[in-house]
Symmetry: C2
Subunit: 150 residues, 2 copies
DNA sequence: CTCCTTACTGAAAAGGGTTTTCACTTTCAG
DNA sequence: CTGAAAGTGAAAACCCTTTTCAGTAAGGAG
């Protein structure tokens, strides 16, 4: 499932759910942001397109989108309540420590690492969560590092 | 900084902080658990050793331990508020999906993956967060998978 | 040992994000 | 149309976390 109006719509329909005006506003708000957003930030952004939207609906929509796999949760310092569209079926996230921009990448050959971890711990590894931090093209070339706080 | 009474004590002293009876109870509770624990779980466990302990002190102690690098935060489904002792300076965590047991591993050659991600995204990668899921030795051999909910 | 400063503590209150409730509206199949 | 089910926003309830505050423990100086 990737983050795309028609795909999301289909995934919703398959569960007997509907793509309402409010849900579309939430979807658009998430798609438009270069950074991950908290529920409140999504709410603020989506209200520009649908002013009568309620915060409750944002929470409900985020939950639905998460269930159908259209969202990726970004792991931050001590909290995981900010979201980004899931572009690919299996992808991971890079967060820019300069500007907060979030980009997805799909290259992930974990073979070597999971084998080593299995050997070291005795676990049979079945899944992985990986998130990278770095500097985006824009921030990496500047000498000053604009530093953002989340 | 690794999770060890004398090391923690030294790290605290270096900041003019003290290793009180309450903090020791919290420390012991965290060290003893095979799984990651929420602040409330730490509180309950630590009170067996120090019944007059307050929840507030648990939060304050977790914060201090986190600052000196004695804790690892475990990333769960939608929240990151459960803790595990940090055994090594740089280590990662494997969580058993059967019983919840958490084990640390240190093998992590990310070179290949970060290079691929850099190429794909244009970011200069500076750090990584990795957490594996799997079945521990005890759960992996059983046919039934006891399933725990967090 | 006594005095004094600073760290530390728990209870209670405040805070703030999330979920639940509820009356009402929208959508859609028959 | 009509009935059933999904969806909605405001308000209330919830629950986890932080702050406040008055008091307690600890450690250095003398
Ligand atoms: Mn992967
Ligand atoms: Mn590593
Ligand atoms: Zn997380
Ligand atoms: Zn950037």
């Amino acid at each position: 499932m990737s983050f795309d109006a028609s795909e999301v719509s289909a995934a919703l329909a398959a569960r007997g759910l509907r793509l309402t005006r409010q849900r579309r506003a939430v979807l658009d708000a998430i798609a438009a942001a270069p950074c991950s957003q908290s529920p409140l930030q999504v709410y603020d952004a989506a209200r520009e397109q649908c002013p009568e939207l309620g915060l409750t609906t944002v929470y409900r929509t985020l939950e639905v989108l998460d269930e159908i796999g259209a969202l990726r949760r970004v792991h931050g310092d001590g909290h995981c309540e900010s979201f980004v569209p899931a572009g690919a079926e299996h992808g991971h996230t890079v967060v820019c420590s300069g500007c907060g921009r979030v980009t997805e990448f799909t290259a992930c050959d974990m073979r070597g690492i999971t084998d080593a971890a299995a050997l070291e711990t005795g676990y049979r590894i079945t899944d992985h969560f990986l998130q990278l931090t770095g500097l985006c093209a824009g921030c990496g070339t500047r000498d000053d590092q604009p530093r953002r706080d989340r």
